[in-house]
């Protein structure tokens, strides 16, 4: 896999405040990279540094293998972004707002404007002044702005802010479709961890300006398996048998019924065999997972 975005030792200090420290991000081509962190953890500052809106204190940033400081214009022809709240000229229509950006970008046909407005579901209102739009519509316009140059890499900071469930579903669909059909790479930050869990292929977690975890979603999900739920008859007997095993860390009632046995995934088959050998009928055996939210809060 080719690294589309790489930061090395990226650091930003605002006076005494260490907003981002020694950040080594790596986003592969075709990733939907979830960038997670609490408010003030440095996500937006990092995105701003990558897009050269903020000057880093130290460190390097490469996009498509090119140095952002040296080859900014070449790089930005293939990059789209929506950073924090969408910004627009409220007295202009969506079409005129996009026309301003089309001119600023260069090399984009005028027909691309209705195309992106169609993608985000704003075509019916494209000639109305943006000042009359709802928050969700403005958010969609922000995403349209990011999509305008047919980018290969898109930064979306809280893309589903202000969207209703239908809107969230629509934008998720747009992201997944662009990713799967056109191979567009996304870096998106969100507080909606469930959203990240079902959309992203790779995740980085930032805490107090430091990257504390970066891995594929698959690996993270595998890491979150923390035990097994057992539904069986003779629950009291089963509990005492399982508690006696040295590999069993904890056995307690599962809120959904049955027992929750905290152990390594490699022991799951052994649980079944052990209970069956003691004449206990096991009717259900399923892995118990932490959610991404549990993991996020515990890091």
């Amino acid at each position: 896999m080719v690294a589309v975005l790489q930061t090395s030792g990226l650091t930003k200090h605002f006076g005494e405040i260490k907003a981002v420290q020694d950040l080594n991000l790596e986003v592969q081509e075709g990733d939907i990279y979830g960038f997670l962190g609490l408010n003030g953890s440095g996500k937006t500052t990092t995105m701003r540094m990558i897009l050269r809106l903020i000057r880093p204190t130290s460190g390097t940033i490469t996009i498509f293998g090119q140095d952002v400081q040296k080859d900014f214009i070449q790089i930005m022809k293939r990059v789209g972004s929506l950073i924090e709240l969408p910004a627009y000229y409220p007295y202009l229509s969506a079409v005129r707002n996009l026309e301003v950006l089309r001119l600023a970008t260069g090399g984009i046909a005028a027909s691309r404007i209705p195309e992106v407005l169609e993608i985000v579901g704003l075509r019916d209102r494209m000639h109305d002044r943006v000042g009359t739009y709802s928050q969700g519509m403005r958010q969609r316009l922000g995403i349209a702005m990011a999509l305008l140059p047919r980018p290969r890499l898109i930064f979306l900071d809280e893309p589903t802010n202000g969207l209703d469930p239908h809107g969230i579903n629509h934008i998720r669909g747009v992201i997944q479709e662009l990713n799967q059909k056109e191979g567009v790479t996304f870096v998106l930050s969100s507080h909606l961890l469930h959203e990240v869990e079902i959309t992203c292929t790779r995740v980085g977690i930032l805490k107090q300006g430091r990257l504390i975890l970066q891995d594929t979603m698959r690996a993270i999900v595998a890491r979150t398996v923390s035990g097994v739920r057992v539904v069986c008859d003779q629950a009291a007997k089963a509990e005492s048998i399982l508690k006696a095993q040295p590999w069993s860390k904890e056995v307690r009632a599962h809120p959904g019924g049955g027992l929750r046995v905290m152990c390594e995934p490699a022991r799951f088959a052994e649980v079944n065999a052990l209970l069956a050998a003691q004449g206990i009928a096991v009717s259900e055996l399923s892995p118990v997972r932490q959610t991404l939210e549990d993991l996020f809060l515990s890091t």
């Binding site: 701003r48 930005m76 910004a87 007295y91 260069g106």
Partner: protein
């Protein structure tokens, strides 16, 4: 770079041509009309034997119009950068394949074109009112026996006055660009721009004459005031040094060159957190 800047200038005009802009232009036209019709009247009544001279009407109308156009230019130029910071649209622009230098150049070019446009609009509005309201010809004494100023001389003085008003007028726009980079609030920026524009003129009036000539605020009231007096038959001398030493050109250009580097450095170094 020229192609990028040209595209950005077109984009700037898409943003600029709003109802607010046309209101300001309308005010310039109204100011020129009121100044053109009221100014000569205040100087003395019009009689059958002595109608208002078109150049007198023009000098008054153009002076009033330029004053309002100057305010309009300062308001619009003070908003060029600050309004982008205010709305956060600066991040949309700076994350496109352009450099900060491109954007800064495009904004300066826009203010330059806007200044030229406003100046020409005021000029032609003033001329239209002058031709509609006044008469052309020599300026005579009240008893109509002696020519005080021949028409040719007056016309030449008018051309000179228009030329000498142009660069000081543009300098006001570049003052706005500097102020626009000081703050991220367009409200504060416009307030600061207008304050400097207003007090700059007032303070210039209070300075000794040698110092006044070093301020771009000095030239427009001086040359148009003189033109008005000439068209009304005044015989005061024109300060030749303004013309011979090219002060009307050197002082505004020096001011523009003083404003621009400061504005550019601030813009280049600013972290965009909008």
């Amino acid at each position: 770079m020229i192609s990028r800047v040209s595209r950005l200038v077109v984009a700037e005009f898409i943003k600029l041509l709003t109802p607010f802009f046309f209101t300001l232009v309308g005010l310039v036209a109204v100011g020129t009309y009121v100044g053109g019709t009221l100014g000569p009247h205040l100087a003395g009544p019009e009689t059958v034997w002595r109608p208002y001279h078109a150049i007198d009407v023009f000098a008054n109308g153009f002076a009033w119009g330029l004053r309002i156009a100057g305010f309009a230019l300062v308001i619009l130029s003070s908003m060029t950068f600050a309004s982008e910071f205010d709305r956060g649209t600066i991040k949309n622009l700076l994350t496109r394949p352009i450099t900060r230098t491109d954007l800064f150049t495009a904004k300066c070019a826009t203010v330059l074109i806007l200044g030229m446009g406003l100046f020409l609009f005021t000029l032609y509005s003033g001329l239209a009112i002058a031709f509609a309201r006044g008469d052309l010809g020599d300026v005579w004494t009240p008893d109509q026996y002696v020519i005080m100023r021949p028409y040719e001389l007056l016309a030449a003085t008018t051309r000179k006055a228009v030329l000498m008003s142009f660069f000081p007028f543009l300098a006001a726009g570049f003052l706005g660009i500097l102020v626009s980079n000081w703050t991220e609030s367009s409200g504060y920026s416009v307030a600061l721009g207008l304050m400097f524009f207003l007090f700059g003129g007032l303070i210039t009036d209070m300075l000794p004459i040698a110092w006044q000539r070093k301020s771009f605020f000095y030239f427009i009231p001086y040359v148009l005031g003189k033109l008005r007096l000439y068209a009304e038959g005044g015989t005061e001398h024109w300060e030749e040094s303004l013309e011979t030493q090219l002060l009307y050109l050197k002082v505004p250009l020096a001011s523009i060159l003083a404003f621009l580097p400061g504005a550019y450095v601030i813009f280049r170094r600013r972290n965009i957190t909008a």
